[in-house]
Symmetry: C2
Subunit: 304 residues, 2 copies
């Protein structure tokens, strides 16, 4: 699992940072990529990566501000033009479907694949055999969500050495041992399987927040996450501005990461007001509170 | 007057060519810039120029395909964010207003300036003291227009030497001579002014075509233009494809330029199927028919 940043700027594109889009690369897990927000020129950013639009099958929109959605009609059209046929599911606040359908209809764009919409609300919004996604409303004036992506725990590996010690040799019986709480061996013995299976592998957790003011209740959504992606539109000494404009400071994002006991904090949505040489000091404000913090740049990616 | 190309590609953005947008720079004439089409990431392209979004006061849309309009909501929002206050007029086929208003409304974008819409149809669509713009429907499946921008002829200069020969010395009388067919001089003499005024300066004419199939009637819109901007999505030997997809070939655009007796032909809307080293041969196909042809690249500009 990887998190890839396609756009890490706030509000307006700049030469250094495009507006928001993030890819959660699940190619290893389920051969899909999931997109979080799709600001204008996200498809242009993708041209500089090896991401294939047809691999993107789910798009989660945090909120409807233009810098998070204006790239969606173009991305969807180009995905079609490039021959994508797998369906796409778009999860987002009410209004996203009208925006997308109006844009496609007025431009007479007929997609080569089906499009499905799910209206985001608090709680479970998606689940399959491998993943679960929940959402929680944040505090951004406009309805804005954070998403918590949870990989389900993977069953532990068979303890082959231990099975051999018990004279249980490899064969179809191994599959049964893995799948069932007890099995009957060829010699008639009933074997409880639990002692022969290793610890389950804890699934990864990634929390990706939309734009928001700091509010301590938000820590639920990020609790124990391997990675928390959080906005940091303002510096630590601008908490007044952050409140007025419904955004967060570096220090507030770091406090939340600490409270939620996440493993790593990735800051994004960096304002163009900050010159590149001020980024170090923004980062310092975060690491003071939560040491394992980083600030994303366009095209940086992180293993989870 | 200058024509600046912000995007010269067809359909999809590529690393070399963005989707369509053209600026007609009228800063010298009336301190405005007019935009023709606004594909996705036009505002990003502008970041690499010295064009100021607040100077763009009119936007003409040729047709509603996504590669010609998806940059509009972002451009308008950023123009607002950067403090533009002058009104913007958008001229385009029916549907453009719904697209723009839906996008702005769903993203809760409140512009700092008024927005006005004019529905493009055949004939005169705009006139002020300095310019006249007419439109003509082309042949692109979807309703697609070409625009003809005509600068009005400028009155000739006063022939000062000739006035002095007649003992008419500089003073307020010169303004009257310029403005009136006849004036009464201080000595009572009535002077016909025409012989003292030079030839009127012919206004410039620029024709900017939307995507279209070749049709010889289109030459009316380009007749005697100083510059014709025309698409060339296909090469000379692909006229079958051009017809099927409602586009033109290099040779067709050149034929139109010849028939319309324009001074210069600028080809754009170049497909990413062509490598950069094939561009020379595309150009050769055009110059064979109409010698004063060029192929635009992103960021190239031309004096008119
Ligand atoms: Zn926002
Ligand atoms: Zn078109």
């Amino acid at each position: 699992m990887k998190v890839v940043f396609l756009g890490t700027g706030a509000g307006l594109p700049s030469k250094e940072r495009n507006v928001t889009s993030i890819i959660l690369d699940l190619l290893q897990e389920n051969q899909e990529m999931w997109m979080f927000d799709c600001g204008e020129a996200t498809q242009h950013q993708i041209l500089n990566t090896n991401i294939k639009p047809r691999k993107v099958t789910k798009i989660f929109i945090t909120h409807l501000h233009g810098d998070h959605i204006y790239g969606l009609p173009g991305f969807l059209s180009s995905r079609s033009f490039q021959g994508g046929t797998d369906p796409v599911t778009i999860c987002g606040p009410p209004g996203i479907e009208q925006f997308v359908r109006t844009s496609l209809q007025i431009s007479q764009t007929r997609l080569t694949y089906p499009l499905e919409f799910i209206e985001t609300r608090d709680g479970l919004i998606y689940e399959d055999s491998r993943f679960k996604v929940t959402a929680q409303a944040l505090d951004h004036g406009i309805l804005s969500y954070g998403y918590r992506i949870m990989e389900k725990d993977l069953p532990g590996a068979l303890l082959v050495d231990k099975l051999k010690e018990h004279n249980i040799q490899p064969g179809p019986i191994y599959q049964q041992i893995k799948a069932q709480p007890a099995v009957t061996l060829p010699n008639g013995e009933v074997l409880e399987t639990a002692p022969f299976i290793g610890e389950p592998k804890r699934g990864k957790i990634v929390a990706i927040f939309g734009d928001t003011r700091y509010k301590k209740d938000h820590f639920f959504l990020a609790e124990n996450a391997d990675v928390l992606v959080h906005e940091a539109t303002f510096s630590a000494n601008q908490s007044g501005l952050a409140k007025d404009y419904y955004h967060s400071t570096t220090a507030q994002a770091a406090s939340l990461a600490k409270k939620a006991k996440v493993k790593k904090l990735i800051l994004t949505h960096i304002s163009a007001r900050f010159q590149e040489d001020e980024i170090e000091s923004l980062l310092g404000e975060a690491t003071l509170i939560f040491p394992n913090s980083v600030i994303a740049k366009d095209y940086t990616w992180f293993d989870v």
